[in-house]
């Protein structure tokens, strides 16, 4: 038994001794194969890494090209050293995205503030106002491409006119407005047969008295009311801007001008916004509107306003050689609107021409028929001449100068005649979305049997589009 065990152990020892060199050679061979495999895999990894870098570079370029105006998308903030082990995404993730690639929602807006100096012939004061000629506002514009030819969209535009230049006056110089007001709350569908809009928005005739290529619109255009419409003309005899009357019961006249306040029933005299006007169609309202496709640079439009008012308009805008030309005419029946109770129908229009030299001229006119022989029959005309300089003070700027005149008749009382003379200057910093403006305007109101003092005003401010 012991012998056999010794034999067995000896055989095992001999087997191990004989096979050991063979096993070592096999392991060495296997190691070499593994090394070769590792080298091969390393080469593959290097190749894939290069491909990944190339793809990432192309993706980033595509992202830059797709972003607005070729601007690069915001970059992810660099991580501190040591934290870079986590692979950063090739392109930064978008904060908000849609599953539908054919939609967009854009936010834009502006702030337009100014100081308004007014001399009403009796007193002078300075007012801090929102320039209502292009009020402070914010806009949300949505658009979706329904097909190759059809587009649907939404528009929400609200303004906040704190101390608006169209409402402040001698008795109320603060706390006017300041709440959100509707401008546009509409949806539309647009395609090869035209555009249909539904909701609160521009009626077909809105802005048809306000076509203006002068580049000085923010300082002053045909809508005089928005410039300083709230100020009342001072009666030269009483030296007051309002009529001081006795209150209800036995309350006597208090000798103060406090319109609508306390026991007094004082009423403001005729205001600039009543004496001067531009009969600019039916403004904005709840309506359904149809615009035709453009044909030979013409576009026709019609709208039907809630309550029964309606209008039609024709627009033209074209560039002919060295001239830019824009024009519009409109006919409106505002008789059902409570704000136009005295007007039966009105006809108005405007045109503006801008030469490549910068010279420009603008004209607007309109007339309305009163409902009864006792009603006023307002009419007006407006002219503006100006010059628009490019890069006058610095590169990428425009500087516009203009003089304008408005003649408005029977805005408030039969036989009234108003004359306005103005001078405006606007400096536009194109890269910063900023307009700096100043305007001087002189107002005169002639009325049979009453003398009013003239009103002088200067408005200086800035509009910044954000």
């Amino acid at each position: 038994m012991r012998i056999s065990l010794i034999r067995c152990m000896a055989a095992a020892a001999m087997t191990i001794a004989l096979t050991a060199p063979v096993t070592g050679r096999a392991q060495e061979s296997e190691i070499q194969q593994l090394r070769a495999l590792i080298k091969q895999q390393q080469a593959q990894i290097d190749a894939m890494s290069k491909k990944l870098e190339s793809i990432a570079a192309r993706s980033e370029q595509a992202s830059i090209a797709a972003s607005p105006a070729g601007q690069p998308t915001p970059q992810v903030k660099a991580e501190p050293a040591g934290a870079s082990q986590k692979a950063a995404p090739a392109t930064p993730p978008k904060m908000i995205a849609s599953e539908n690639e054919n939609v967009s929602l854009a936010i834009s807006g502006q702030v337009n503030r100014a100081l308004l100096y007014v001399d009403d012939g009796d007193k002078q004061d300075i007012y801090n106002v929102d320039n209502d000629q292009s009020s402070t506002r914010i806009r949300l514009a949505g658009k979706a491409k329904l097909s190759e030819q059809w587009t649907a969209g939404t528009m929400i535009e609200m303004d906040v006119r704190s101390n608006t230049s169209s409402a402040v006056n001698q008795s109320t110089d603060n706390g006017v407005g300041g709440t959100f007001g509707e401008r546009k709350l509409e949806l539309f569908f647009e395609g090869p047969v035209g555009k249909v809009s539904l909701g609160q928005g521009d009626t077909a005739s809105n802005t048809t008295s306000e076509v203006d290529l002068s580049g000085t619109n923010v300082a002053g255009y045909s809508n005089i009311n928005e410039y300083s419409g709230g100020f009342a003309f001072v009666n030269s005899l009483t030296n007051r801007f309002c009529t001081d009357v006795a209150g209800p019961g036995a309350l006597p006249a208090d000798g103060l001008c406090t319109p609508g306040q306390g026991a007094s029933l004082d009423t403001l005299n005729t205001r600039i916004g009543q004496a001067f006007f531009n009969l600019d169609g039916l403004s904005r309202d709840d309506r359904i509107r149809y615009d035709t496709p453009k044909f030979m640079n013409f576009m026709a439009s019609t709208s039907y306003v809630a309550g029964g008012a309606s209008d039609v308009a024709l627009y033209y805008a074209a560039e002919i050689n060295a001239f830019k030309i824009a024009a519009a005419i409109a006919y409106a029946d505002p008789s059902s609107l409570t704000a136009r109770t005295g007007i039966d129908t009105q006809f108005n229009g405007s045109a503006s021409i801008l030469h490549s030299s910068g010279a420009n001229i603008t004209f607007a006119a309109g007339a309305a028929d009163g409902k009864t022989p006792a009603s006023v029959d307002p009419d007006f005309y407006y002219v503006k001449a100006g010059w628009l300089f490019k890069d006058l003070l610095s590169p990428k700027t425009k500087t516009g100068f203009a003089i304008d005149y408005n003649n408005s008749n029977e805005g408030a009382v039969i036989g009234d005649e108003g004359d306005m003379y103005g001078v405006s200057a606007v400096h536009t910093l194109s890269d910063y979305g900023t307009d700096l403006f100043t305007t001087y305007r002189h107002f005169e109101l002639d009325r049979i049997g009453v003398n009013f003092d003239d009103i002088d005003s200067v408005m200086t401010g800035a509009r910044i589009k954000f």
């Binding site: 904060m95 908000i96 854009a106 502006q110 292009s134 802005t207 290529l213 824009a326 900023t434 589009k465």
Partner: protein, 50 residues
């Protein structure tokens, strides 16, 4: 004479119309075209886009 002048004006108008290029007119009271102080050259933030 008047008819000739009218014809001349009509012909001039038609020729001008043929040479006319579309103009993207922007109403004066609206937010102006072009860039913004914060939004840059595009003039608006486009917050929804794939």
């Amino acid at each position: 004479m008047k008819s000739r002048i009218a014809m001349l004006l009509l012909a001039a108008g038609m020729l001008s119309a043929c040479a006319a290029k579309p103009l993207d007119y922007h109403a004066p009271g609206e937010i102006p075209n072009g860039g913004g102080l914060i939004t840059g050259k595009d003039g608006e933030f486009v917050i929804l886009r794939k």
